[in-house]
């Protein structure tokens, strides 16, 4: 007999590099808005802005928190994989630190995961900060450019067109629930995409190639500031060019892309 909802602990993997105020905001929102038991795994990519002190304080206050500290910044993809390696729970959520989660966000993701055994990955409704406007509800990829297109971008928060769980070609890595079976089948994110970008879409395409559904949940909502880390000068220098990642992705998956709408 299967018990619904599943009462197991959820692991939340959050890579961070500086921006401690965002991290604080994010972790506080998790503390306030999560009913399901959870453990946070922060992978600190060599922050120098007090992130470390904040995390220690938080752990001392009883927050279920594991910290992995890298002396240098190996980038997003590798940090996520380090975090994933430290999880053994049935459900894992990848989360960016420049997000604020809304009430029932974990339950809203788990609920949709439970709707069909073939669903392997679920993402939330992602909102612009401080606005009731949708940034993304997962997305799709168009031919040629390999360009990613967030679905629902610019629609109002309660637009009924984005009120139903639906399949997407990919779920944004900024918040992605993955079930253990998928991690066992696929392993971790592909480090060919290091330091960052397209590893999330690639993971979803791999999951779908193995018969899993990647689905958007309208019952989970988060705010996403987006590109907070990527905008830092020292990070931007490294991430300036995503053409390499784009090319790998395009080469692997071009046969799966949606046809160009314009032609």
């Amino acid at each position: 007999m299967i018990s619904i909802p599943d009462d197991g602990e959820v692991a939340i993997v959050i890579p961070v590099y500086n921006a401690v105020e965002y991290t604080r905001q994010c972790l506080e929102s998790i503390g306030q808005n999560t009913r399901t038991p959870y453990r946070i795994i922060v992978v600190d990519n060599g922050s120098s802005d007090g992130t470390s002190d904040y995390l220690s304080e938080l752990r001392d206050d009883g927050c279920p928190l594991t910290v992995i500290r890298n002396p240098q910044n190996p980038g997003y993809t590798l940090a996520v994989n380090q975090g994933l390696g430290r999880t053994d729970t049935e459900h894992v959520i990848l989360l960016n630190n420049d997000t604020v989660v809304c009430p029932r966000w974990v339950e809203g993701l788990l609920f949709v995961l439970g709707l069909d055994a073939r669903i392997g990955i679920v993402g939330p409704k992602i909102l612009w900060p401080d606005r009731d406007v949708i940034m993304a509800t997962g997305g799709m990829v168009f031919t040629r450019s390999g360009c990613r297109l967030p679905v629902g971008h610019g629609a109002r928060r309660d637009d009924p067109r984005f009120g139903m769980p639906e399949d997407r070609q990919y779920i944004e890595g900024s918040c992605m629930l993955i079930k253990r079976e998928v991690i066992q089948t696929l392993g971790v994110l592909d480090e060919a995409y290091a330091p960052a970008y397209y590893e999330d879409a690639d993971y979803c395409f791999r999951a779908r190639a193995h018969g899993y559904r990647t689905v958007y949940s309208p019952f989970a909502e988060i705010y996403h500031y987006a590109e907070v880390t990527a905008a830092m000068p020292e990070v931007r220098a490294v991430l300036r060019d995503k053409r390499g990642q784009e090319a790998i992705f395009r080469q692997r998956w071009a046969h799966e892309f949606e046809p160009d709408g314009g032609e």
Binding site: I4, F111, G114, A117, R118, R161, M164, A209
Partner: protein
């Protein structure tokens, strides 16, 4: 008996729900003395042949699917793949007693396989194009109707899932009544026994204190969801704290979202998309009332599911529902398409009254007594026996008649051509 089932879908894939029924039937047959092999579609990525609950499942190998230009061509392509796969596996599997086809999507392959292996064909018709598509049929719908008619006329025996479908087959498709049996689908009560933390489950889609009216099914025109939305709007005028939960997906999804906006129901309607077990069981348990508002319904599986979950049921009287739901005893039944009557029926069941409780309990007992898969398997075996004792030769009704011809000049030719023609008509090559 050794049975080769052909089905366009099989779990874990689900498109129309047909696969679930084929799986449950196959499993129940296999639990008896029958050996069941299912030949079916690929599910992408995980296409190994497997044994599921005593049933041997063979999936087509479809590594680089071509892209046929339309749905009709897709079906032809799919059937070619089925025949190819059958050709690969059948020599090693040994002889089968019969082929059992489910619906028109596998008609071409079923006919080819039974012709080649000279075994009877039994066909189950779960619904018909003529009934399902309203108005004039377009070309591809005509093709479906034609294929259905041909399949029915070619089968040694036809199984209709309800008296309603049997009537359609006899009246509209020219099925021979003496070759047509009614065998319903079954329901497996254990599928609905998931342990649910209801408050936590409900909290995702319903507010505290809201009573949930549940619809489960495809969002296709014949399902009557528009009627339900209007009835729900009507009901909201009189009652508060209601939520309509719509589980399923389909062609009308966008139109229904528009209607929700037009009727200003955004705050009260939740669309869930496709829901599978065990979440489906949890969903039924969350409902105060389940409704099946179909305009056309070949069978009415959702009504049986609601009943087995002990939920009060408000259904239309379309098709097979009239055979399942006894008005005022096992549920409430209203004329299909009648918005006011549906709203009234929902209202009278909403409050968990003794009356609603009595209907729900009677419904549950009725389904458990009459729709077990064991019982369905037994009825299906009887049809198999009849098919074996009176197999129908392929293309008997459709074979063109050779005109009378004067005898050929050479005695040798006459002899050999006679011999061949005897073999042709006798074995039906």
């Amino acid at each position: 008996m050794r049975v080769l089932m052909l089905a366009s879908e099989y779990p874990p894939a689900k498109i129309f729900g047909l696969g679930r029924a084929v799986h449950d039937l196959s499993r129940a047959l296999a639990e008896g003395d029958d050996e069941v092999h299912v030949l079916t579609n690929s599910i992408g990525g995980r296409d190994q042949d497997t044994a599921m609950a005593g049933v041997n499942v063979h999936r087509i190998n479809y590594p680089n699917p071509p892209q046929p230009p339309d749905s009709t061509s897709c079906v032809v392509q799919f059937n070619i793949c089925l025949v190819e796969r059958a050709h690969q596996i059948l020599p090693d599997l040994g002889a089968f007693d019969l082929v059992h086809a489910h619906d028109w999507l596998v008609a071409l392959a079923a006919d080819a396989i039974r012709t080649q292996h000279r075994i009877p064909l039994v066909t189950t018709i779960h619904d018909t194009a003529l009934g399902k598509y309203f108005g004039e049929l377009d070309r591809s719908q005509q093709y479906i109707a034609f294929t259905e008619r041909w399949l029915v006329s070619e089968s040694s025996r036809v199984i209709a899932c309800s008296e309603f479908i049997r009537r359609e087959l006899v009246q509209d498709y020219g099925a021979e009544p003496a070759r047509t049996d009614v065998v319903p689908c079954g329901v497996n009560p254990s599928l609905f026994s998931a342990e649910v933390n209801l408050p936590a489950f409900r909290s995702v889609f319903a507010r505290e204190g809201e009573r949930v009216i549940l619809y489960v099914g495809r969002l296709d025109p014949e399902k009557g969801v528009e009627v339900l939305l209007r009835a729900f709007a009507d009901l909201l005028g009189r009652r508060s704290s209601l939520r309509l939960v719509v589980a399923g997906q389909g062609q009308r999804r966008q139109a229904l979202a528009d209607l929700v906006e037009e009727l200003s129901l955004e705050e009260h309607v939740t669309f869930l998309g496709y829901v599978a077990h065990p979440a489906l069981a949890a969903l039924y348990q969350s409902a105060a009332v389940v409704t099946v508002p179909s305009l056309y319904e070949p069978f009415g599986l959702v009504a049986l599911e609601a009943m087995v979950c002990g939920r009060p049921l408000a259904s239309s009287d379309a098709g097979g529902l009239a055979e399942i739901v006894e008005d005022g005893k096992t549920g409430l039944r209203v004329p299909a398409g009648d918005v006011g009557a549906l709203a009234q029926a929902l209202e009278s069941l909403l409050d968990g009254s003794d009356f609603a409780g009595r209907l729900a309990e009677a419904g549950r007992n009725y389904v458990i007594a009459n729709y077990s898969w064991d019982r369905v398997a037994e009825q299906t075996r009887r049809t198999y026996q009849r098919a074996l004792s009176a197999p129908k030769m392929p293309h008997q009704n459709l074979l063109p008649r050779r005109p009378e011809r004067p005898a050929a000049p050479s005695a040798e030719n006459v002899g050999s051509s006679d011999g061949r023609s005897k073999a042709d008509s006798g074995e039906g090559r």
